[in-house]
């Protein structure tokens, strides 16, 4: 059982959470211009990384908030917990994130 540090509620059992798959997958900016291949990529293709993987989790029986997590898919070690819309921490440290021209993903206010 994973012990997950919810950014709002602290450490809780994995059973309180729902898995949301790969993080940082933005909805296509111009959906009308996508061809079938690009739609397939958006709908069905996700990274399946062996190693450090950025993924979304929902604290469904707690604060009911989404957040991102960096977890090793081999050792299952949780390396970082960070808010929706924030850049992936290990990549952000290496190079400054380019300035985004669109609203950050998940930032519906």
């Amino acid at each position: 059982m994973l012990l997950i540090s919810c950014p709002n509620c602290g450490s809780r059992d994995e059973t309180e959470f729902h898995y949301g798959g790969q993080a940082h997958v933005a909805y296509p900016e111009n959906p009308n211009e996508l061809n079938d291949r690009e739609w397939a990529e958006f709908l069905f293709y996700r990274d399946n990384t062996k190693g450090a993987f950025a993924e979304r989790w929902l604290h469904s029986t707690g604060c009911r908030q989404w957040f991102n997590m960096l977890r090793d898919t081999v050792t299952y070690e949780i390396q970082a917990v960070y808010p929706m819309g924030a850049p992936r921490p290990d990549k952000a440290a290496a190079a400054p994130a380019p300035e985004s021209t669109t609203a950050p993903e998940g930032a519906t206010k």
Partner: protein, 405 residues
């Protein structure tokens, strides 16, 4: 010390070093890889081929499944390929000259809700139209076939009936792998263990070789049979697969006298149970929710599955969990496999069997061998092409495959 140890029995296959080149290389020495090599040699005369296994033969999902074999899938495409597999299972012990204890003891898929009942009856109808043996059982008939099942109303999800496929059953998974391996070896196939693929050699978009920890091997064709690691290999080759790898756990109890005459599966309460020939109760559940390559999962999944098992089979309350383990299953979003060509020329992929690859082993081998040998898919695996995710011709088998295997 007086008695010398007896001679080691004859080995079933050799352990050759890799040759510099082959006509085809299969990556993955599990059931599907071995079956593919067998049918390449037997049906297509391709014997200058190798099966590369990064660990030991059949030590991945082939050693970790719950050995259930059935073909009662909903859609025509699935029924065709799984029923073909079942027909092959029926003749393979003789063909491979190896009794791997294929026991057609039947499989029941329980229904616990009105929705389950309707879906199950629909599936029985669809199965019959596709020539798959299937029948609907009411709770009393369920009880007659499997007396230890609790069909009373005193549980959270009472049994409201079941589908039943009499020709379904179980087989000894290890022996299936060994049977294929021995025949492959006899036919001249090189089975190379401890040989991990680290990359591919390409000429433009055409694959011409395989890089391994034991040197580079030239080959005209490459077939990927790596289940949970398919995405990793595809990435090395420069293309993507719509696969997510998840841990799937199973467990066995200690040995018991025969108490469970058939195979019982329940999608709704997430458990499936059979009793192995030796006497262990073999149980599995659904996948862990998160992506994982760790060959282990979270304990609460097992706890949930045990709770369901004990409600359905009250006598199991006295049994003990002897051993649990996990495999890495390669799931697709439509719960159907991918068998066919890839964006890389001369490279072929057999993956996405997810939680139900064991039962499909012979058909996967047959159709994948055909695809590799001829460059075009067999009639049975044509619908299971990678392109279906672009065309939208998905084969949604979540009802028959998602939890039940």
């Amino acid at each position: 010390m007086a008695d010398l140890l007896p001679e080691h029995p004859e080995f079933l296959w050799h352990n050759p070093d890799p040759k510099p080149s082959y006509d085809a290389v299969i990556v993955g020495g599990g059931g599907h890889g071995l079956a593919t090599a067998y049918f390449l040699a037997k049906n297509h005369g391709m014997t200058n081929i190798a099966v590369l296994e990064k660990g030991w033969l059949a030590g991945g999902n082939m050693a970790r499944n719950t050995t259930i074999i059935r073909s009662n899938y909903l859609w025509d495409e699935s029924a065709a390929i799984y029923e073909h597999a079942l027909k092959l299972w029926e003749v393979l012990p003789e063909e491979l000259e190896y009794d791997f204890l294929f026991s057609q003891r039947g499989v029941m898929n329980l229904a616990h809700t009105l929705g389950d009942v309707r879906e199950s009856m629909r599936r029985v109808g669809a199965n019959k139209l596709n020539g798959v043996d299937a029948e609907w059982l009411d709770p009393q008939q369920v009880k007659e076939l499997c007396p230890i099942l609790n069909i009373n109303d005193n549980i959270r999800y009472p049994v409201m009936g079941a589908t039943y496929q009499p020709r379904a059953g179980i087989a000894k998974h290890d022996h299936v792998a060994w049977a294929f391996a021995r025949k492959c070896d006899e036919l001249g196939v090189d089975i190379i263990q401890n040989c991990e693929v680290t990359g591919f050699v390409k000429d433009g978009n055409r694959v011409t070789g395989v890089k391994t920890n034991r040197g580079t091997i030239n080959t005209e064709k490459v077939g990927l049979c790596a289940a949970g690691h398919s995405s990793v290999l595809a990435e090395m080759a420069g293309f993507r697969l719509p696969i997510q790898s998840h841990p799937l756990q199973a467990l066995v109890s200690e040995l018991h006298e025969p108490v469970h005459p058939t195979v019982v599966m329940s999608n709704h309460v997430h458990v499936y149970v059979s009793q192995a020939h030796k006497g262990e109760l073999v149980m599995g559940a659904g996948v862990d929710s998160y992506n994982g390559y760790g060959q282990r999962g979270s304990f609460h999944v097992i706890e949930h599955q045990m709770a369901a098992a004990v409600e359905l089979f009250p006598i199991f309350a006295r049994a003990h969990v002897l051993r649990t383990w996990g495999g890495i299953v390669d799931t697709t979003l439509d719960a159907s496999p991918i068998v066919g060509t890839t964006p890389v020329e001369n490279m072929f992929v057999n993956c996405g069997w997810g939680t139900g690859g064991f039962k499909g082993t012979p058909a996967a081998g047959l159709t994948f061998a055909h695809t590799i040998a001829t460059g075009t898919p067999h009639e049975l695996n044509k619908p299971f092409a990678l392109e279906r995710f672009e065309t939208g011709a998905l084969i949604d088998e979540h009802g028959a495959a998602a939890v039940a295997h």
